[in-house]
């Protein structure tokens, strides 16, 4: 994207400084996701689930929302694009640490509405019970629960804050159909949006 100097006139110097900082963080996050092997990134991407998110106060929350807004602006000037929600959430998590916060990086999924089907995945941050999504679309995603060794995963996922309950019996389907048992595979780090 071409940089228009006029676009930055409305920002205060402190906001411009923050914007530059966020742009550099996004560049680092992008590069790390693309270059580092998955095994090196595993704790970075999935370890956050174990973190005990501290609930931010109203003032910190305003600051975080301000950073998230600037993050979206900084993301428009990234050299590469690929996994916006994951990059933005990781960048926001990085910027939360100086504020004394250690949010959890959470993942969710939803079905595509298109006839072709498929699944979309999404990532956002949780500060205790407060969710902050730089892209603001986490409500339509069902959060992953688990890992399954520590939680009941017998079909209980959280969906918009309520328990879905066990999966219904699928007596309408015949499991011996060729298409009955299917496994779709998608690269998570490619598919997040």
């Amino acid at each position: 994207m071409r940089l228009d100097p006029k676009a930055f006139r409305r920002y205060r110097p402190t906001a411009l400084l923050e914007l530059s900082r966020l742009w550099l963080i996004l560049l680092y996050v992008d590069a790390r996701l693309k270059v580092w092997p998955q095994s090196w990134n595993r704790a970075w991407l999935f370890g956050g689930r174990k973190e005990n998110g501290t609930k931010p106060g109203p003032r910190t929350l305003r600051k975080l929302n301000g950073i998230a807004t600037l993050l979206r602006t900084a993301a428009r000037f990234r050299l590469r694009t690929g996994t916006p929600c994951l990059c933005l959430s990781l960048a926001l998590r990085t910027r939360s640490v100086p504020l004394g916060l250690h949010p959890s990086l959470v993942y969710g999924a939803r079905k595509r509405r298109a006839a072709s089907g498929g699944i979309d995945a999404h990532a956002w941050l949780k500060f205790g019970s407060i969710g902050i999504d730089p892209l603001g679309s986490s409500e339509i995603f069902s959060e992953f629960s688990g890992p399954t060794t520590g939680a009941d995963a017998s079909g209980r996922g959280r969906r918009r804050g309520r328990d879905v309950g066990p999966a219904p019996k699928t007596t309408r389907h015949n499991p011996t159909d060729e298409s009955a048992v299917t496994l779709r595979l998608e690269e998570a780090t490619e598919g997040y949006n």
């Binding site: 992953f144 699928t170 998608e186």
Partner: protein, 87 residues
Amino acid sequence: MIRVSPTLSTSMLDDELVLLDSATGKYFGLNPVGSRIFQLLKETGDAGMTVAALVSEFQAEEEKLKADVASFVRLLEDKGLILNDAA
């Protein structure tokens, strides 16, 4: 004994289960029947007991179900989503 991988997280979308494997960073979607089989495998830890439960739920031949479940278990194993101690 079949165990679900400890790196797996799950999410239920209507009647379909989505599995996220933190070891590989990949996610998998199971259709309703696949989801039910996966649930039974997790609950019983045994392919034979899963087939027995499915026979009572679905009007299908046991032999055909057995073959379907066995191939499904192999597929899950190949993807590292379950650990089969018997194998």
